[in-house]
């Protein structure tokens, strides 16, 4: 099988979805940091920055990335976890943030504006369903570490908020 050009990696990875949030691709999440083809080794190197340290989806994501690229014809794919610089929600694509909202998860604002001290007043989070700001925090942590759990008093639905970090 002919090895695809490195440029093909982008479109291949745009089809590899986050296992927890299946509307977001790994590119939308901003976790793919570097793609490098090593001619001598005949290997494709992919550097991935984990979102959260304890993210249990990391292994699945690495396997899915590898699997997709090997199916496309890359003979050898090596993934590497890069912790520095740390992942920030600012690396999410704006299309990705809109996909989150459509999926029912309130997207994060800018990380710098939102990260607050212990006693600072929180910024209001708009309900992804009805856009009302009559929302309240129910828990700092939701189904996953990256999201908080909110309730909308206007349309009476619970929803998750992707925390800025």
């Amino acid at each position: 099988m002919v090895v695809p050009p490195v440029e093909a990696v982008q479109s291949i990875l745009s089809q590899v979805m986050d296992p927890e949030i299946p509307v977001m691709s790994v590119l939308d999440m901003g976790i793919i940091r570097e793609v490098r083809w090593d001619e001598a080794e005949g290997a494709l190197h992919i550097e991935i920055t984990p979102t959260y340290s304890g993210c249990p989806a990391m292994k699945v994501i690495e396997d899915d990335v590898t699997s997709a690229l090997m199916k496309a014809g890359f003979p050898r794919v090596l993934t590497h976890r890069r912790y520095s610089p740390p992942w920030t929600t600012d690396w999410m694509s704006s299309e990705g943030k809109e996909k989150l909202r459509a999926y029912g998860i309130a997207p994060p604002g800018l990380a710098a504006e939102s990260l607050i001290g212990i006693n600072q007043k929180r910024k209001k989070v708009a309900c992804p369903f009805c856009r009302s700001e009559k929302t309240e925090l129910r828990s700092e942590f939701g189904a996953t570490a990256c999201k908080s759990f909110y309730y909308c008093a206007e349309c009476c639905q619970p929803f998750e908020f992707f925390k800025p970090i």
Binding site: H45, G54, E62, F141
Partner: protein, 276 residues
């Protein structure tokens, strides 16, 4: 659809991480010990928090505590993996987690105390989170770039943990008569375990000099100030100065650690050649 053979074969391997800087033997030994301390504090506490899974007082806290536990274990994974590379004897984070004995663990005793009731868990978590966030804040400017990078990442998550535990201290302290009494009793019981993290020994003193790692004794005053401020706002008494337990950094632990490790390590120790 892949065949079972295809799924089991190691198709992808992680790239060898970047080269470590050259350390003198003394620094390498101290750094290995220090990284174990950072990893073990979180590994053991993460394990304790996981004991709440399915037993939380309310669903939201069952989830929250579970997520904090996951974060801490993720941090431990990163610190212990780095420790293994610094040691240079091919021990990875799993080997270090499941095959060390009690005397080889370097966590502070605060991490290994039983989970107690919700008030105790929150009080302990607040004391730990206040220390952890402060330590990572200082550690991110150390002169070992890979460790500084890990500290910067860890700090972001520690900040969310601190927000969670601090908010609960406020709610419990400035809450009902019952919640106030329980969380006050928890802080009173925990205070004697709160000083250990700030005792500097030869390991930290050497690394402070060679790699710019923060001397833990320099963190104490700020920690006391921040913790006292929050306790007062929660209408709680700051416990009086008292004798402080130590020993964890040298592998001398309470009776609780042995039982915790027995539970944590039983499966891999029973089947050391098992493959997932």
């Amino acid at each position: 659809m892949e065949s079972p053979e295809e799924m089991l074969s190691p198709r992808a391997a992680t790239i060898a991480p970047s080269e470590l800087p050259t350390f003198s033997p003394a620094v390498r030994t101290a750094l290995f010990d220090y990284l174990l301390r950072l990893g073990d504090d979180r590994l053991i506490l993460g394990h304790r928090l996981s004991e709440w899974c399915g037993h939380g007082p309310i669903l939201e806290e069952d989830l929250a505590i579970g997520n904090v536990s996951l974060d801490l274990i993720g941090h431990a994974q990163a610190f212990l993996a780095l420790a293994g590379r610094v040691e240079g004897k091919e021990r990875d984070e799993d080997r270090l987690t499941f095959f060390r004995g009690e005397r080889e663990f370097r966590n502070i005793k605060l991490s290994e105390l039983p989970r107690g009731d919700f008030a105790f868990t929150i009080a302990r978590q607040f004391l730990f989170d206040s220390y952890a966030a402060l330590l990572m804040e200082k550690l991110q400017s150390c002169r070992f770039p890979e460790l500084a990078g890990l500290a910067a990442k860890t700090l972001k998550e520690d900040t969310y943990h601190l927000r969670h535990s601090a908010q609960w201290v406020l709610r419990l302290g400035d809450g009902t008569l019952e919640s106030h009494a329980k969380v006050q009793a928890a802080f009173n019981d925990l205070w004697a375990y709160s000083g250990e993290a700030f005792v500097a020994d030869e390991v930290e003193l050497l690394l402070a000099k060679e790699l710019g790692i923060p001397d833990p004794s320099s963190l104490k005053a700020v920690w006391v100030e921040r913790v006292s401020a929050l306790l007062k706002e929660a209408t709680l008494q700051v416990p009086a100065d008292c004798f402080m337990h130590t020993g964890g950094r040298k592998g001398l632990h309470t009776e609780y650690l042995g039982k915790l490790l027995a539970e944590m390590q039983i499966v891999p120790r029973s089947y050391p050649d098992a493959r997932w």
